[in-house]
């Protein structure tokens, strides 16, 4: 089985760009990735494209061949939809296709256009990642679903909104130097606690923003990289995916996310690594509680221990295992169908040493990315390693 290398990465600015079409956003990211890789278009054998709500936001289904056309590719193109884990799945399937020997070069990534919709319509669109019969009709929104999990966590393990506020403060600090991030504004614990409540206990500053953006990666086999003398020091050495009941009410425990655990177990085994080997992490922090649940599901903390990680300084940029040096979904932004790809892009930059926060992890060799769909009814984990 061949190894898989990241030959080039591309991102658009994440943020409010309501006038820009999805096709324009994705083309920008994909062309940047191709340019950086030095791979000619004709060598790209497949496009794996992540998108969640394009049919609602742009009335545009069947986006993958459109995106291939916009990038000037003449190859099969498939859209992957797994709610907010759409691009994570697109990348994972690209890894699997290169490993299988079927393709040597695959373009993977994703895009979401969101800010052209009203807040109410975005809320409704995102809610479709929940169970239509038993959750959406009962008034569940995306922040509401995470609020239910946060309260269940507090009941079971303790912790409070102030612990969660430290997660938001940390991720905003991390976003400050990241040129692609939506927010370049430090915030304080008091500001998080005083922000308007969206869905108690999730406040406005516990939540990721609504974002437009795209991400793209050119993935190649070890042989292709060697034959073409590519500068591609970062490899994806592990991939895993896990699933769970769609509706929260059907899960055994509301304060844990077994899909993350399943994805992580598979990815660690695949890479021959364990949580202690991981130097730097990008996790799916769509809400502050989500970062806590992710760190526990990934095996970095026992259940109930992850909530104090940011407050204790363990996951800050200068902590022992920095989490979300990109700014995370919270401050970098969350264009849902692009997010999983952007995490792998950011991790690649961090490990290569060309991310503005690379100085915090200059000796790092192993990175991990975690992308979740809905209330973690799906999760995708990747392990990345850099040649040193």
């Amino acid at each position: 089985m061949t190894g898989v290398r990241v030959a080039g990465v591309g991102l658009t600015q994440f943020g409010r760009q309501p006038e820009r079409t999805g096709r324009d956003l994705f083309a920008e990211a994909a062309l940047a990735a191709r340019e950086e890789s030095g791979v000619p278009s004709d060598d790209i054998e497949e496009l794996n494209y992540g998108n969640f709500m394009g049919s609602l936001a742009e009335r545009q289904g069947h986006q993958a061949p459109l995106m291939a056309e916009m990038v000037g590719l003449d190859c099969p193109a498939t859209r992957y939809e797994e709610a907010c884990a759409s691009a994570g799945v697109a990348v994972r399937e690209a890894v699997r296709s290169v490993r299988s020997g079927e393709n040597d070069v695959v373009l993977a990534g994703g895009c979401e256009r969101m800010t052209n919709l009203s807040t109410a319509d975005v809320t409704e669109g995102l809610a479709t990642a929940a169970d239509e019969l038993y959750e959406i009709r009962a008034g569940i929104t995306f922040p509401g679903a995470y609020a239910l999990m946060a309260r269940a966590y507090f009941e079971q393990y303790g912790g409070d909104r102030e612990d969660l506020a430290h997660v938001a403060v940390k991720n905003h600090d991390n976003a400050l130097p990241n040129e692609y991030a939506q927010f370049h504004r430090a915030i304080t614990v008091d500001e998080v606690l005083d922000a308007p409540m969206v869905s108690d206990p999730v406040g406005l500053l516990d939540a990721c923003p609504v974002t437009d953006g795209a991400s793209a990666l050119v993935l190649v086999s070890d042989e292709y990289a060697a034959d073409h003398d590519l500068d591609a020091p970062v490899s994806i050495t592990g991939t895993g995916q896990g699933g769970d009941n769609l509706a929260l009410q059907d899960r055994e425990d509301l304060a844990v996310t077994p899909a993350t655990e399943r994805a992580a177990t598979e990815a660690y085994a695949d890479a021959g690594r364990d949580p202690d080997d991981v130097d730097v992490v990008e996790v799916h922090d769509c809400f502050t509680i989500a970062e806590v649940l992710a760190l526990e599901g990934l095996g970095f903390y026992e259940a109930g221990e992850g909530i104090g990680a940011a407050r204790r300084g363990e996951t800050t940029a200068t902590g022992e295992r920095p989490v979300n040096l990109s700014g995370g979904l919270k401050a970098k932004g969350h264009p849902v169908g692009a997010t999983g790809g952007s995490q792998v892009v950011e991790m690649t930059r961090l490990l290569r040493g060309d991310h503005p926060n690379s100085d915090h992890v200059e000796d790092a060799t192993v990175g991990l990315t975690h992308n979740a769909g809905g209330t973690v009814a799906s999760a995708v984990v990747h392990v990345l390693e850099v040649d040193r």
Binding site: T119, A120, D121, T123, E124, A127, L133, Y134, E135, I136, R137, A138, G139, I140, T141, P143, G144, A147, L148, M149, R151, A152, E155, P196, M197, V198, S199, D200, P201, V202, N245, A247, L248, Q249, D250, L254
Partner: protein
């Protein structure tokens, strides 16, 4: 829109004859289902839904989607009914007075925005 399986279930709840599905292993689930989501058994029978449940977790939603704009703020809770849990809008109490442990009964109400039927967890 009609949704076979779900509509009948909601009507049964409205008539005070709520039920859930139970496999021989004792796993509970809600219709429509052809298999038990826990063990894959296709042998699903109907059991009576307990007449009361207790709130396990809840949220007070201040910003809902377009279908709930006339409800804000509203409390949505997940309540424990033994072998199954139900998610519903809590009524019969001020949203901000809902608590973990609040005893609720499953009923059917009307969504004030859309006029559609809605699973309501009515506080006792």
């Amino acid at each position: 829109m009609t949704d076979a399986g779900y509509d009948e279930w909601l009507d049964a709840v409205d008539d005070g004859e709520g039920y859930y599905l139970r496999c021989p292993e004792g796993h509970g689930s809600l219709p429509p289902r052809r298999v038990c989501p826990h063990c894959g058994s296709t042998d699903l029978g109907r059991e009576s839904l307990p007449t009361t449940g207790t709130v396990e977790t809840y949220t007070v939603c201040y910003v809902g989607g377009p279908d709930f704009e006339d409800e804000e703020p509203y409390a949505t809770a997940i309540a424990d009914f033994g072998d199954v849990r139900l998610t519903g809008v809590v009524r019969g109490v001020d949203p901000e007075d809902v608590a973990v442990g609040t005893v609720v009964e499953p009923t059917v109400g009307t969504n004030r925005t859309t006029g559609d039927d809605l699973l309501v967890l009515r506080a006792r």
